[in-house]
Subunit: 111 residues, 2 copies
């Protein structure tokens, strides 16, 4: 992903969140979108992305539709019903995680 180790473990959540928002996306599109949102800071590598997509599909969280655009193959992914439910959980976890990390960086007075 990036040199900063911090992103480790967040790839699945990123994918699912983007799919929740956009409805469906293909792999390369995801990498470009993330690069755009993070202003080039987070570059998802293919070696990380494609295995992650395949695993989410195998877990029944994503469905795939293959299409040919401009004579090139695209695999569009979208959330299954199960995936949509799970995304809600993961986003809640992410918000908790962010809150916890902020408390560590900038401790509350109570600590």
């Amino acid at each position: 992903m990036k040199n900063s180790q911090l992103y480790k473990g967040s790839l699945n959540t990123i994918i699912m969140r983007l799919l929740e928002e956009k409805g469906r996306m293909y792999g390369y599109e995801i990498t470009q979108k993330v690069k755009e949102i993070t202003q080039g800071e987070l570059n998802i590598t293919e070696g990380a992305l494609y295995p992650a997509l395949h695993k989410l599909e195998a877990e029944g969280l994503l469905d795939v539709e293959v299409e040919k655009v401009d004579n090139r193959m695209r695999k569009y992914y979208k959330l299954t019903e199960k995936g949509t439910t799970e995304t809600v959980n993961r986003l809640a976890e992410l918000e908790e995680f962010i809150k916890n990390m902020q408390n560590i960086v900038n401790p509350k007075l109570s600590y």
Copy 2:
């Protein structure tokens, strides 16, 4: 650490940040402090913590002082000069990371 994968990769930053704030801490104390700050949500396991501390020490980011308290050994860790400098960088990375993740969860209108 925890079932949520999100914390993967953040342990070193957490340790360094706590040491920056408290001056010096021993391993067990770190686990308790993190548990307290996160209200029990993040439990750092010994299998993760001690190797991490040893590695940070080997990298010259931490110094260690062994003391015996109540007939039990404690290894107090503190940041070296190099470690203090590096902590500034890591905290900046962490803030960027948090910002990026928030942009993904809650996209700006510009995207």
